[in-house]
């Protein structure tokens, strides 16, 4: 069973439907016991980093997520949930993240130059930088759906795939049992479903727990 963490940010309908579509049981939950019993954990999120980080802290779920990740349980952050895996974000101030991965979140405006719209909204092609269990069904150049104004930088250690949008932006990360997608696999058609399927098959055994 996959636990989709419900901490009051974002629309979890599609994410739950995606797991149903690949035949995996998923529960949308804020209950630490349910999360502990789950085989894997999804940390979703849309909106502002500060607000989401605060909600995660206030519900005590930040400790739960850290503990499960330390236990070696496969964890995937999606969109803002992926950004929260890093050390800190510079979205309207400086805010602490979970610190499960090395790196920080910066505005894409600093890197992409003039003439491109912010947020990056739409379908863009993945450039695979490093093989990973979650990309085992993914081909170079396959399209996934992005909506974001910030991205992870200084994260070479966990970088799995990038996307070209005025610069090479971080699209997908993974280290040990901790994974993240800046794009929305639940909105990326069959390409996205295959990434979720690969995550559900990933053991988290490859490089040991974070």
């Amino acid at each position: 069973m996959v636990a989709i963490i419900d901490y009051g940010v974002g629309n979890l309908f599609s994410l739950r439907s995606s797991f149903a579509a690949i035949g995996v049981e998923a529960a949308v939950t804020a209950d630490p016991e349910t999360i502990h019993k789950a085989d894997r954990v999804i940390l979703p999120g849309v909106g502002a980093f500060e607000d989401a980080a605060r909600k995660l802290r206030e519900t005590g779920l930040d400790r739960v997520v850290r503990a499960e990740a330390a236990d070696g349980k496969p964890l995937m952050g999606i969109c803002l949930g992926m950004q929260m895996l890093f050390e800190r974000s510079y979205e309207y101030g400086v805010h602490e993240g979970l610190g499960l991965l090395k790196g920080e979140i910066r505005p894409i405006a600093e890197r992409i130059g003039e003439g491109l719209k912010i947020p990056q909204m739409g379908w863009n092609a993945l450039k695979i930088r490093r093989q990973s269990p979650i990309l085992k069904y993914t081909q170079e150049g396959e399209y996934v759906y992005f909506v974001h104004s910030y991205s992870a930088v200084n994260c070479d250690e966990s970088l799995l795939a990038t996307v070209e949008y005025g610069a090479d932006l971080t699209a997908c990360v993974g280290l040990g049992n901790v994974f993240g997608c800046q794009f929305h696999p639940e909105k990326s058609g069959s390409v996205g479903l295959k990434i979720l399927k690969a995550f559900c098959e990933a053991g988290g055994e490859t490089e040991g727990a974070v």
Binding site: N11, S14, A21, G122, A125, G192, L193
Partner: protein
């Protein structure tokens, strides 16, 4: 590079697609769920569901088919029609919509865009406008194009984007249904004043109209159309191939999957 998006729009009344559609290889299809699946499989980048139901009962049927679609189709879904309050946003977002399009609702209550953007994020709020030239000036029309509001279109769009609309669907009533191409003059003016994605609507009759659109106006992010897709006059996969041949970035899906 990010691709230009191709978006079919489905008008839904009492849970069925209005007028029905007739694909060469699919026959008559009136089920929005089936049609959405078909488009998703054939390369649509996004779908717009437009609810033209007036009754509460029809509205319930609409949310049912939306829920069913969101369970089976995993591309972005935008929902419009009858969105007047943030409670309407809530109703369709809970059924699996990713973005919500407001038109007359924003004209009636200009604070709606800002309120919704703060609650659900800018990326969730799509401003949709029906624009027509009146004495040489672009004016905003309300109530499905039946009522001239007298508001100047470009200023209205600029204002709503300033309030938090994350995307704009520009429908030209002058070119809509004429099938002689998109309204490039209007679209250029919109692209000049907004930095958010612009979706062109109204006037597409053939593949070349999309090529002209994207080549002439690089600031346009997506092309939306209804009947030409429904009646098979333009097939999305063929359109995408032609876009690529013309150097326009397009997402082509592998139908063998």
């Amino acid at each position: 590079m990010i691709t230009k998006r191709i978006i079919p729009c489905l008008d839904v009344k009492n849970g069925r697609v209005v007028k029905g559609v007739n694909f060469l290889n699919l026959g008559d299809v009136a089920s929005p769920v089936e049609l959405a699946k078909y488009y998703s499989d054939h390369g649509a980048d996004e779908l717009v569901f437009y609810d033209i139901t007036a009754s509460a009962e029809g509205r319930g049927l609409f949310t049912d088919i939306l829920t069913e679609t969101a369970r089976t189709v995993f591309i972005p879904l935008t929902v419009g029609g009858g969105i007047n309050t943030t409670a309407d946003f809530d109703r369709v977002l809970k059924c699996g919509a990713d973005k919500v399009s407001v038109n007359s609702g924003a004209i009636r209550d200009p604070s709606l865009v800002g309120k919704a953007a703060r609650l659900y994020g800018d990326q969730c709020v799509v401003l949709s406008v029906d624009v027509k030239r009146v004495d040489g000036v672009f004016r905003i029309f309300a109530k499905g194009g039946r009522e001239n509001t007298g508001m100047e279109a470009i200023e209205w769009i600029r204002r709503c984007v300033g309030e938090g609309a994350g995307e704009v669907v520009v429908n030209s009533m002058d070119t809509d249904g004429v099938k002689q191409g998109f309204d490039l003059e209007l679209l250029e003016k919109v692209c000049d004043v907004v930095k958010v994605p612009v979706i062109a609507s109204g006037g597409a009759g053939k593949i070349e109209d999309f090529i002209t659109l994207f080549k002439t106006l690089p600031g346009v992010d997506a092309g939306l159309a209804a009947s030409i897709f429904h009646f098979g006059e333009v097939e999305i996969s063929a359109l995408k191939e032609e876009m690529r041949r013309n150097g326009i970035s397009a997402r082509i899906v592998d139908r063998a999957e």
